[in-house]
């Protein structure tokens, strides 16, 4: 089978070329490795930021205080109305007796103070705890709840939540920009290596042309060479990131500094990291060599 034979010859030519100029290949593989390590670290970072953000978002709750003059029917109606708001995912009712019991259990001081009050004179208020799906619209949702009759007060830690969300958005965007920039740099590195290979093999290419090699037969090995370089460049980053992150996760006990910042379990993301790094290496290798062949292989 002619095409299959030509395909395998192209691959073996590409491998030969990688090893023939081994010092050059090694230099570019090292550069690609360093770049991809940074890329993989950024990806891990972005996974963790995402998970932390969503953890925090899950914790953000709107507290709705019900007016003490509300009857129990009115109070139920408030619950139902809140439940009908589009952004609301969960509504949980806490009566003032429950809150009183909770607070008494929490500390002796509270217990001493609250003992003075019975069910009738309880100064606390019934509350609804509300979770939302889209944290960025939490302000609007709070305003909407505020409009409901007999709702006295709506609290959700205004300002703090928005700030946190903003900061994480910025961190995420910077990570994306860094990753994209590094990928572009890698593509240029590979392109440059292939360019040098092409120059080294000028004579061979000239003779190939003379004896009747088709353009694709001449060009394809260079694509494979770029792909091989990209692939070899992923080996070290994958090893470092998989074992390094798992090790770090174990040492830190799955959290960063405090219980609040939980790290993502390596088992959940390691395959994705491997896949992403491999894909970036190979695709970038192909693109880099494509560019070099387009610009420097004039046949």
């Amino acid at each position: 089978m002619k095409p299959i034979r030509i395909f395998f010859r192209s691959i073996s030519e590409a491998f030969k070329s990688v090893f023939r100029n081994f010092s050059l290949s090694l230099a570019s593989i090292s550069c690609i490795s360093i770049t991809l390590i940074l890329v993989a670290v950024s990806v891990i970072l972005s996974y963790n930021v995402n998970s932390f953000t969503s953890d925090i978002e899950k914790d953000v709750t709107i507290v709705v205080f019900v007016d003490n003059t509300a009857t129990s029917e009115e109070s139920d109606l408030i619950g139902k109305t809140i439940n009908n708001i589009a952004n609301v995912t969960e509504v949980y009712f806490q009566s003032k007796q429950d809150i009183k019991a909770d607070m008494e259990a929490e500390s002796d001081t509270f217990e001493a103070i609250l003992k003075e009050y019975d069910a009738e004179t309880n100064p606390l208020q019934d509350t609804y705890l509300v979770k939302v799906s889209d944290i960025e619209k939490i302000g609007d949702t709070a305003k909407e709840i505020k409009k409901i009759e007999k709702v006295e007060l709506v609290k959700y830690g205004e300002g703090m939540v928005e700030e946190l969300v903003n900061i994480f958005d910025i961190v995420k965007n910077i990570t994306y920009i860094v990753v994209v920039a590094l990928i572009v740099v890698t593509a240029f590195l590979i392109s440059n290596t292939i360019k040098i290979t092409i120059q080294n093999r000028k004579r061979e290419i000239e003779i190939m042309r003379l004896v009747g090699a088709s353009n694709s037969y001449i060009k394809i090995p260079f694509f494979f060479e770029g792909i091989i370089l990209g692939f070899l460049g992923t080996v070290l980053p994958i090893l470092i990131c998989c074992f390094g992150y798992a090790y770090l996760y174990d040492i830190l006990g799955g959290k960063l500094f405090t219980e609040i910042i939980k790290l993502v379990n390596p088992d959940l993301i390691i395959y994705n990291i491997v896949l992403i790094t491999l894909l970036i290496g190979v695709v970038v290798g192909a693109l880099g060599s494509y560019r070099a062949v387009r610009r420097h292989l004039k046949i």
Partner: protein, 229 residues
């Protein structure tokens, strides 16, 4: 129809040099033709038009039914597979053995290993180098290197063998041997030979058809011609 056919061919290079002016000629299958002329007479240009290294400015060149003058870059390889080309500087790959250098031409076609082996050995036999197929080019004499390049040129069984000053770097004795090889290919394989040369002795001795170029014009086209006018 003739194997090779030039019709009102002009070639002007970008620097304004008129390398060929209104050249018309026809070469039959199995012919042996010398192209001679002083330096700058257009010999090399005529040869380069044959293997489509250059395109004519005007006019048409046909080889074996292919309109070479209008051939797209992408399709040039189809023409080259029907040609064998031999150069003054051999153009061998120094890191490949004699066998690999000759096989190179067939590898690019995607032929089977056994088929390649058969053809390479046949070509090396034809040029008298069968015993040296494991050597590297720098272990061979100039004449032997030129034989390797001839073997590479004929290994694909070309219709036309184009030779651009094949004896330019060789002493008279070796040149004669090379000419014997080329003539045997012409006689035994029926391959059409077109050879540009400066070597008066060879042309005068071999009594073949001679095309004489002067300032880009084809001034004489003689059967069994010689170098002297």
């Amino acid at each position: 129809m003739e194997l090779i056919y030039f019709k009102n061919v002009y070639k002007q290079y970008k620097n304004g040099v008129n390398a060929l002016v209104d050249v018309n000629l026809a070469i039959e299958k199995g012919d042996f033709v010398f192209v001679i002329g002083a330096s700058g007479s257009g010999k090399s240009t005529l040869i380069k038009l044959l293997y489509r290294e250059e395109k004519p400015t005007r006019g048409d060149v046909y080889i074996g039914g292919i309109k070479v003058s209008k051939l797209r870059n992408r399709k040039v390889y189809k023409l080259r597979r029907k040609l064998g080309i031999v150069f003054q500087d051999y153009k061998l790959l120094p890191k490949k053995t004699v066998y690999e250098n000759v096989a190179f031409a067939l590898l690019v076609y995607g032929l089977k290993e056994t088929e390649i082996r058969k053809r390479v050995l046949k070509a090396l036999d034809q040029v008298g180098l069968k015993g040296k197929y494991r050597s590297y080019p720098d272990q061979l004499s100039g004449g032997e290197q030129q034989r390797v390049s001839i073997a590479r040129a004929i290994v694909n069984n070309p219709k036309v063998l184009i030779c651009d000053e094949p004896t330019g770097n060789l002493d008279p004795e070796t040149s004669k041997e090379i000419m014997d090889v080329i003539e045997s290919i012409n006689k035994e394989w029926g391959t059409t030979i077109i050879m540009a040369t400066h070597d008066k002795d060879i042309v005068n001795r071999m009594k073949k058809r001679v095309l004489l170029l002067d300032k880009g014009m084809l001034v004489s086209n003689k059967e069994k011609g010689g170098y002297s006018k």
